[in-house]
Amino acid sequence: MLVEKYKSEIESLLARYPVRRSALIPLLYLAQRETGYITEAAMIEIAGILKLTPPQVYETVTFYTMLNLKQVGTFHIQVCKSLMCALVGSDTLIGWIQTRLGIGPGETTPDGAFTLSTVECLAACGTGPMMQINDDYYERLTEEKLDRILSDLKSTGSSALKTGPFMWPEPLAPKGETSVR
């Protein structure tokens, strides 16, 4: 049950809004963080917390692409395929990933480690081709960078190649440092 485990977090979310239903997406994120996707049990529980019917919760869940109704891999790779990234090689990037992981868009590797999705614009058009893996952006991708990211994720669960606070073109580095990123 979410309520027992996240009591104070739920209360502080509810306190932000004068109308309870506004806390719906935040609570759904909480449920997704807990189980990787949004279960029927979670939807029923959240409906109870917000005094909604379960179908009201379901109708909101099904509108938003970031709310998963099915389990996804440990690492959810989302490649932007919109025009701006396509101009600088996103189709090629998707091909590289397919070759390396043996899965196409919408598929998960048999070990449950990687899911590949193609998505629309992620607001990183000047630094394409790019992808988001879980919470992190990876930009200006090349074949070598992709290999390093995938092997970093497999071995340590994170990669230093993810983008930090974004600025492009990059500002000048402070004296004595080569790069601020």
Binding site: I25, Y29, F63, Y64, T65, L83, V88, C121, P169
Partner: protein, 435 residues
């Protein structure tokens, strides 16, 4: 003033600037708040913003102060400010940089706006994918709350402004202001029928202002340096100030460039963004995000202000400038954008929901060289039946790529359809047809 003095990107362009409260204050941060709170009347702040000529940076370009002025004067209940950080227009990536590199600049703008419109609560609706941005904003709000720039009794004035970050969950349409409000209320992000407008019936049916991140970030500077200073920058009287243009596509140096409005596309593309990435010349560009009709090299000397781009048959929109080199198929480019709009149509209005599906199917057929002679007529007919017949501006936006490429590069469509017809003629006829 140097030719292009950055305003919004100034702090973050300094080596080592990380956007903490201490650093922001060192550059004059929160001085505008101190200057205004309890000292200048809210109505005077609104007048000052009207005088500056500031117009919305999200896409529509509506005068900011005028928008604030639409809130009912005598209404006693709560009012809200929503900061639109749902940056999703393909080609646009400026708000992300403002949020992640200088969050206090936006927060100061939010608190100033709340003061001017009499709101005690502001929500920053940030697109769900900006996880890092949401975290940075949360931290910055925490910093500002600790020193009394946000929260109760701001700087001892007795005034309250609470600011909350609210993450979206992956829907382009939630950047449309009424869809944003629906989403913030925990519903599907379906745009509302207007009128009534958010100024009178907004969030929870209360008077509400929705302003874009870049719009709000301008406010501390306007208050610190005066509306006359701001109104003299750019292309007065109608397009004042700078804009952050996001350059993407086939250029040497893509990225965010803050320049006064009114420079030409030629200057942006060839001077700031370093020109074309290879020896292939420019073929086409999109001047203001995916919703803006394509332009041609003939339009390179058009001035980048709201009126000039509109007069050239497109719009300055969100400031996303996408460059395409010779050799790029315009039919393919229009299809890629059409696929975006098909995916993002919210489904509320039939012309858009059904029409986007028909358009994408027809476009795919043409690009796959299976088109038919009557397809061009079908496309035109569909576009005419979508534009202007939907609740929000999405309908007009989704037909822009097809209508504008049909206008400027019609022979490319015809060539693809011609190829399809030739291969049809050469194909062996089915047995039944021979009798």
């Amino acid at each position: 003033m140097p030719k292009h003095e950055p305003i919004l990107l100034k702090n973050m362009s300094q080596p080592g600037y990380t956007g903490t409260l201490a650093e922001y204050e060192k550059t004059g941060g929160y001085q505008a708040l101190k200057k205004i709170f309890g000292k200048v009347s809210p109505a005077d702040v609104t007048q000052l913003v009207i005088k500056s000529g500031l117009r919305g940076r999200g896409g529509a370009g509506f005068p900011t102060g005028v928008k604030w002025g639409f809130l009912p004067k005598d209404y006693q209940g709560p009012r809200y400010l929503c900061c639109n950080a749902d940056e999703s227009e393909p080609g646009t990536f400026k708000d992300r940089q403002l949020i992640e590199r200088d969050p206090h600049q936006i927060l100061e703008g939010i608190v100033l706006t709340c003061y001017a419109i009499g709101a005690e609560t502001a929500y920053i609706y940030i697109r769900g994918e900006f996880v890092l941005g949401a975290r940075i904003l949360e931290e910055a709000i925490g910093e500002a709350r600790r020193v009394g720039y946000i929260g109760k009794n701001i700087q001892g004035t007795g005034l309250t402004v609470e600011v909350w970050v609210h993450r979206g969950a992956g829907a382009y349409i939630c950047g449309e202001e009424t869809a944003l409000l629906e989403s913030l209320e925990g519903k599907r992000g379906l745009p509302r029928v207007k009128p009534p407008f958010p100024a009178t019936h907004g969030l929870y049916n209360k008077p509400t202002v929705v302003n874009n991140v870049e719009t709000l970030a301008n406010l501390p500077h306007i208050i610190n340096r005066g509306p006359e200073w701001f109104a003299a920058i750019g292309s007065p009287p109608k397009s004042t100030g700078t804009r952050i243009f996001c350059v993407s596509g086939h250029v040497k140096r893509p990225g965010n460039y803050e320049v006064p409005m009114g420079i030409t596309f030629r200057e942006l593309i060839y001077e700031h963004a370093g020109g074309m990435r290879s020896d292939k010349p420019l073929k086409a560009f999109i001047p203001g995000g995916a919703s803006a009709p394509f332009l041609t090299p003939d339009h390179l000397d058009v001035k980048m202000d709201f009126e000039s781009v509109a007069a050239a048959g497109s719009m300055l929109g969100s400031g996303g400038v996408t460059i395409m080199e010779e050799g790029t198929s315009m039919v393919w480019a229009a299809l890629r954008l059409m696929e975006f709009f098909y995916h993002e149509s919210c489904g509320k209005c039939s012309p858009c929901r059904e029409g986007s599906s028909w358009l994408v199917q027809t476009m795919r057929r043409i690009v796959a060289k299976r088109g038919r002679a009557q397809d061009l007529e079908t496309l035109t007919d569909l576009c005419k039946n979508i534009a202007g017949r939907t609740v929000c501006a999405f309908g007009d936006a989704e037909v822009a790529p097809i209508m504008s490429t049909l206008k400027h590069w019609r022979p490319e469509y015809i060539a693809l359809i011609h190829e399809a017809e030739v291969s049809n003629l050469l194909r062996p006829q089915p047995a039944a047809a021979r009798h």
